[in-house]
Symmetry: D2
């Protein structure tokens, strides 16, 4: 997924504010579902929630930059998924993140439905 850096994404340091990269990754995860006509889960009783994040900020980006977000599965368990998401500026990797997503049903960690497993397998 392509993401443009706009004013709202930058800060007074002149570069992209650090948590915006984590937002861009969330957009990419949502887009996986949106492009298939699925809402990834609304409300905290149902759907995927972020449990853990391990992120490295490798280089900076600035206003107007066009970035690319990639996502692939590292581990798929019964009720959780570990994704590796990376952000590139041209050919340079500027951000890397491992994110643990837990599937929640009725407020409790639950077996990921097959249709969701299939979608992630296609990444």
């Amino acid at each position: 997924m392509k993401v443009r850096v706009y004013y709202e994404d930058t800060d007074a340091g002149g570069i992209t504010y650090h948590t915006r990269y984590i937002n861009f990754c969330e957009r990419a995860r949502s887009e996986i579902f949106f492009t298939r006509g699925i809402l990834p889960g609304l409300g905290h009783h149902n759907g995927f929630v972020v449990r853990d994040i391990k992120a490295s900020f490798l280089a900076t980006s600035t206003l107007g930059d066009m970035l690319e977000v990639t996502s692939r599965i590292l581990t798929m368990k019964n009720s959780s998924i570990i994704l590796l998401q990376e952000i590139f500026k041209e050919d340079r990797k500027i951000f890397s993140m491992e994110v643990v997503l837990v599937y929640i049903d009725e407020g409790k960690p639950s077996r990921i439905p097959d249709r969701f497993k299939e979608i992630f397998t296609q990444l």
Copy 2:
């Protein structure tokens, strides 16, 4: 209400991003209710929604600035309220906004409940 300008509020221009002032005003409106232990309405079926905004950006602010948001009623009608909200940096007015809030019940403009009218009257 006092509001500090943090990195996330600024942009690559080195100043506070323009819509942050409108967010600060929304915080101030919410705080009116929070400090009284009331949630100002959850969901778009119930509560106050912003219908119109007329805002003027008079001067800038930067990282670390402590701002003050003031709110007062201009007009109170049956189902809507017009508030004047202003933001000051020290003694200088840097932002001014008239906001029209409409009270929604079951998704339709409705009579503002008396307990909410009273709260606004106390401003």
Copy 3:
């Protein structure tokens, strides 16, 4: 310009947070320059700044919605421009805004450079 509504754009009311529409309009203005390989001005000493906004929130949008932002000139003066920016969800107009932009050079309102005037005239 097309804009997708992501989680970060929504709030606990279940709909798009009101100032996000104003951000979307700013993205559209910046994109006018970015697509021509121009940075619209960095720093508050130089470039266009928002002086006034008159915005109407006509209808709501929700997570996953694909919106369209349109921009056209209402008035072009020596040192300022008034734009009409509107946001549509499918064929329905959900947001409308008149924004006054002032061109700043060395911190003072200044004559808009011809190359910028041309760009806006092409809208």
Copy 4:
């Protein structure tokens, strides 16, 4: 530091958007400097930058919640600091993060100035 959860911090899931906690931690780090009348570094050529984040999202929070952010040093090296930042809702820990900050001077990792070391030691 106390932080209130406002509409802009929540999402359509009805809870605080995950990266807002990381923003709250950044506010707390900035506030350490602001309360001492120091700007923590402007521009990406000078000051502390976030290199790595390890974050765990332990529980949720919602609109109107008052949260508390705590910060303490885990490791202080020549040019980097590891902080543990935690967020509490009443007595319950809802977020925990280890953040590696690198001190940058002229764009390169550099020895942390003594006056900054002292400030962190006082935490």
